[in-house]
């Protein structure tokens, strides 16, 4: 059996690797410090459209976990279930539980979650276009009671990560480049002093060089500020290279999860998600039906 890597390092007592996701989550609760535990949640929009069926995932404190999948797989829905932004879109968690930092996520609103240190960076950057870059970032501190001097100090700290934004701070955010807007969105979220960030497709529509720059910053924030990160991405390669652990979801089901390294080296992941296949892209379900090989450190749901 191949040695467990990545996340599994932090919980050496974690039983057999083929344990199903839900059980693993429950097991991990007792053994290690997880900042986020999602246990078999179902999410329904408009009371009829089921977007998630049985998603379970775990983010250990201080780690980066990638949530991967194609269009409409349910990545954003998962993040919004955690941040409670679902309510604003007529979505509802109808089954399962979410536990953030030891407490159940139930009737909170997004402002409550921000107060508890959980901030979502929404898909598509979503800057306040008419505000300056600096006003955008300061708005991130809205939930905190800070003096003007405190705000300046916090700003300087943020700028030390996002050097590029310091030069652009007086610019109207709507007129900055896509990469800068993505940085503004992350910087703004950091201004709330989060314990955990939910990042929704930060690479979307950006040139590879900028993607690399942003992921570098995200990694620095994770290392230096200790922020735990749940990262939704379609860009499987970049995400796995920057994450400790990964989950792959399709149509509201977790298909596979494992350490980032094991996923990067997995033949099927290579074929389906990393574009190293000669055939056209299929989905996981079909491949699993064709052949069901056992992976030492991968878990099929």
């Amino acid at each position: 059996m191949a040695p467990l890597k990545g996340l599994f390092d932090v919980r050496p007592s974690c039983g057999t690797p083929n344990r199903p996701a839900a059980n693993t989550a429950i097991f991990m609760t007792t053994e290690t410090d997880n900042i986020l535990e999602i246990d078999t949640i179902e999410v329904i929009y408009d009371s009829v459209i089921a977007a998630l069926h049985d998603v379970s995932l775990t983010v250990p404190r201080g780690k980066i976990v990638a949530l991967l999948g194609g269009n409409g797989a349910g990545k954003s829905t998962t993040l919004k279930a955690v941040s409670t932004m679902l309510k604003g879109e007529r979505g509802k968690v109808t089954k399962g539980t979410i536990t953030y930092d030891g407490a159940a996520v139930k009737n909170q609103d997004p402002a409550d979650m921000v107060g508890l240190g959980l901030v979502q960076v929404l898909e598509g950057r979503r800057c306040f276009g008419h505000l300056t870059v600096e006003e955008n970032i300061i708005a991130g501190a809205y939930s905190r009671k800070l003096s003007r001097a405190d705000i300046r100090n916090e700003l300087e700290k943020i700028y030390s990560y996002f050097n590029r934004l310091k030069d652009r701070r007086k610019s109207q955010a709507g007129f900055t480049s896509g990469g800068e807007q993505q940085m503004v969105a992350v910087a703004r979220a950091m201004m709330a002093k989060p314990k955990m960030l939910l990042l929704d497709e930060p690479s979307m529509g950006l040139a590879p060089q900028l993607v690399a720059e942003i992921f570098n910053i995200v990694n620095e924030l994770n290392q230096n500020e200790g922020v735990s990160i749940l990262l939704a991405e379609q860009n499987t390669n970049v995400a796995l290279r920057n994450a400790d652990y990964g989950y792959i979801i399709e149509t509201g089901h977790v298909m596979l999860h494992g350490t980032a390294e094991s996923l990067l080296n997995d033949e099927k992941v290579k074929e389906l998600y990393l574009g190293i296949s000669k055939e056209g892209r299929k989905n996981f379900r079909d491949v699993l039906r064709e052949e069901s090989t056992d992976h030492a450190d991968l878990h099929h749901s």
């Binding site: 609103d109 997004p110 979503r126 306040f128 276009g129 708005a139 703004r188």
Partner: protein
């Protein structure tokens, strides 16, 4: 008002008309500002704004009749408008938060009827006089120094509107709540994601719209009496918004001035050919021409939804 035997008379008279129009226009700016604030914060066209003007000033006069001194009646009314904003947010907007903008629009129309009915049920239906202690007659020192006949009431209205607009602009630019409001106006979802409580921001804009409504109602009521017709007068904010753009604060201000000045000029110089009293509909005609020329308004950025 017309004085003869002066070489500059005609020109001076024209200036007088324009100045009176601009001063009157500041009130339209103010009411339009109330619309813009609510539109920016909730993408809803607040059809109740006219009713709010009526409700606010009628309540103010009612409190005065109950024996409250001017200043106290003013602040009690502001408190009442804040309370109204709070009730609207809790009872109308929050339950409808995820509904379409059309539903919200209907809700504000309904709110308008409720306010009109409530105001009349509580305070009665007769026209009240409101004496602010400022007459609607020209100020002597302005006549002496410039030869212009400018009404004291017009001038007061203009100054009060200017102070209020500048005050609001400063609040929006430099306070935390103001930053929150501008953030919500740009992207409510993103604002919510960083913990800006939308409910508080709604309360802020409805209170600001309430204050604006009270002040406009007082200025108009002082001239023409506090009566139901104020609701229609407030609807002149609609052409102002078409000219200025629904989501632009500078647009509301400039639009109000344009409507104010042009309706007065038209009333004086063109009105006689139509048998007078074109002030009532001229702004709407101007707005229609504007719609054809610039549907998004002078400062507007996107084309508004047809309401």
């Amino acid at each position: 008002m017309h004085i003869s035997g002066w070489p500059m008379t005609e020109f001076l008279f024209f200036i007088e008309v324009v100045v009176a129009g601009l001063l009157a226009g500041t009130m339209y700016s103010l009411v339009a500002l109330g619309f813009v604030l609510i539109y920016k914060a909730s993408s809803t066209f607040n059809f109740a704004q006219g009713a709010m003007v009526f409700f606010a000033v009628l309540s103010f006069v009612g409190f005065m009749e109950l024996g409250l001194p001017f200043v106290l009646a003013f602040f009690v009314t502001i408190l009442l408008m804040a309370l109204l904003g709070f009730a609207t947010e809790r009872l109308v907007l929050k339950p409808l938060m995820n509904q379409s903008e059309d539903t919200l629009l209907m809700a504000t129309i309904g709110l308008g009827f409720v306010l009109e009915g409530l105001a009349q049920a509580v305070w009665g239906v007769e026209v009240r006089r409101l004496d602010l202690g400022i007459g609607d007659f020209p100020i002597q020192w302005i006549i002496d120094s410039t030869g212009l006949f400018i009404s004291a009431l017009d001038l007061t209205a203009g100054l009060v509107a200017a102070v209020l607009i500048i005050g609001l602009a400063l609040i929006f630019k430099y306070t935390k709540m103001g930053l929150g409001l501008r953030a919500v106006a740009d992207d409510p979802g993103a604002a919510s994601s960083i913990g800006i409580p939308l409910g508080n921001i709604m309360l802020l804009v409805w209170t600001a719209a309430g204050i604006v409504a009270l002040v406009a109602g007082m200025m108009w009521g002082a001239r023409a009496g506090v009566q139901f017709a104020l609701v229609d007068l407030a609807l002149k904010a609609l052409p102002v918004l078409i000219i200025g753009g629904f989501s632009s604060i500078p647009g509301a201000i400039v639009g109000g001035l344009i409507i104010g000045a042009s309706e007065k000029v038209l009333e004086v110089y063109v009105g006689p050919y139509f048998g007078g009293a074109i002030e009532g509909w001229a702004p709407f005609v101007i707005a229609i021409f504007f719609l054809l020329w610039r549907p998004e308004g002078l400062f507007g950025e996107k084309i508004i939804r047809r309401v």
